[in-house]
């Protein structure tokens, strides 16, 4: 007799049956490999300058050479290794920001939704304030004052985005709280923490996972925007935004310097967005084909 699939299995199956999600997942895996493993295999130094090899074009162009597959910059540094290493920063910032913002949003959103009353009012009104402050401006003004560092950037990005999660979590908690099994659990005197962990959290996780994927793509864009403005992780660590800003000075002589880091950013964001679309459709098949 065929067994009915458990819900967890069926969303995983739907995700893997989703063509664009699989493409996105594969692309993202390749990017992870490229940024974190490939630099070790190549062994090139991302900050080593070579004044004899300035502005070497990529390998597919005339005068290009396999030693610098994507060409070199104004100081003769290898662009490929700089893009790969630069991706480490972007991906780590995105992951760290998601972790912090989701944790804060999950805790505050759960408190607001589960306990209601004045707890809810205070948390959500403070949230309104953060929503009213355009995030990029908030980020820029804090970094302008505290100075850029990996920690500041992650905390500031998370600070300006926790509300997004808190609101989603609150909504899911509110609807889960009204379920009969929660009322039943409460009537037999189950402690709040127990109810939250066993009965409410599982309902909250899937929307948060979908949201976190979409937002992570945004954090990568914000981080590269900040380092483009010179407010990112300080040199000599290369970041995608910094490479773009440097390349911008040489658009007349070396188009690849500004173009290729941007393509790296675009492919990363694209892969994450594809995964996000796949997750959303897998968790909620009714929305298939795209709610923005």
């Amino acid at each position: 007799m065929p067994q009915a699939p458990r819900p967890a299995d069926s969303w995983r199956r739907r995700f893997w049956a989703h063509r664009s999600a699989v493409i996105g997942g594969g692309l993202f895996a390749a990017i992870l490999f490229g940024c974190f493993v490939l630099p070790m295999l190549l062994g090139t130094n991302p900050t080593a300058t070579s004044l004899l090899h300035r502005f070497e074009p990529p390998v597919w162009m005339e005068d290009g050479a396999l030693t610098n597959p994507l060409g070199t910059d104004n100081l003769g540094r290898d662009l490929l290794i700089r893009i790969l290493v630069g991706g480490q920063v972007s991906l780590m910032v995105a992951l760290a920001t998601v972790t912090v913002a989701v944790s804060v949003g999950l805790i505050l959103g759960t408190l607001a939704g589960y306990f209601g009353g004045w707890v809810d009012t205070i948390i959500m009104r403070v949230g309104d304030l953060f929503l009213a402050y355009p995030f990029m401006l908030l980020t820029i003004s804090v970094i302008a004052i505290l100075g850029p560092s990996l920690l500041v950037i992650v905390l500031v990005l998370a600070l300006s985005d926790w509300v997004t999660y808190a609101r989603t979590v609150r909504g899911s908690v509110l609807s889960a709280r009204e379920r009969e099994y929660v009322a039943a659990a409460r009537s037999i005197g189950t402690p709040d923490l127990h109810i939250l962990r066993l009965h409410i959290l599982p309902n909250v996780l899937s929307p948060v996972l979908v949201l976190a994927t979409v937002r992570a793509a945004n954090y990568i864009i914000w981080e590269s925007g900040l380092s483009f403005l010179g407010m990112g992780v300080p040199p000599p660590t290369p970041t995608w935004g910094m490479l773009l800003a440097e390349g911008r000075d040489f658009i007349l002589d070396a188009w690849w310097l500004a173009t290729l880091p941007g393509i790296a950013i675009m492919l990363t964001i694209l892969s994450i967005n594809l995964i996000g679309d796949g997750l959303r459709d897998a968790f909620d098949p009714r929305l298939k084909g795209g709610r923005a």
């Binding site: 355009p134 995030f135 820029i140 003004s141 941007g262 795209g290 709610r291």
Partner: protein
Amino acid sequence: MSRYPLRRLLHAVLIVAGISVISFFFLHLTGDPVGLILPQDATREQIETLRRDLRLDEPILAQYLHFVTSALQGDMGRSIYTREPVLGLILERLPATLELALTALALSLVIAIPMGVIAALRRGGWLDTISMTLALFGLSMPHFWLGIMLIMLFSVQLNWLPTSGRGTWEQLIMPSVALGASLVALFARLTRSAMLEVLGQDYVRTARAKGLSETMVVGKHALRNALIPLVTVAAMEFGFLLGGAVIIETVFAWPGVGRLIVQSILDRDYPVVQAAVMMLAIVFVVVNLAVDLLYTWLDPNISLGRTDK
């Protein structure tokens, strides 16, 4: 129902008050500006005088109250370097930023709405696939990178458009396209899903059953309702436009508030940064207030159900 605008206005005032607290607090994170303003060899007396002038010797609450009362009177402090009133510096540049943001918004709506409608009407067809693929790429491109690519193509290669500055309509094209591109993607996806939802509603089926032409059904009944969520999202995205303008203005040397902010950050001219950021935040609040009120006026049913429970 007539109480809603009043409540919404009060809410906006509270938000602006909150913004002023945040802005004031940030400025105080910078610590003592005296060291930045005075030369290294300033005498103790000079330092004391400046501290008194800047009211740094007063308790923090008194400083905040003074900050708010002078801001209400149009005095938002002076630039540390040029000693010019900050408000003047900002107001001089605000029209440029608004021009850029509004053009980008208008451009993105004009492109995105037909794209989304066509995609919804031809669901699953090749037009749908193409426009949604384009939208996905649009969402994945950092706008400042797109800006640089546009400069490389249209200014460096083809020599059609000027690389920077403000004044002519040619100079407005590339910055607003770069700023609006990701919004096109967002709005097109939103229009498409809203249209799909509306097209399945009973009143659309009724309109079709009545024998109305497809143009009437789509244009009059479906599109008008599908556009309602778009208005709210467009207002929210105005914040993105103002923030994004900071970077795009730098790329295109557009003389707006964004560039003033970046330049002031590099100069460590914090009063200017603080006031300019606060000003853009207030613009954002006002835009959202206006749109919310417009929304109530357009569709009284929704706002009542939503807020006055």
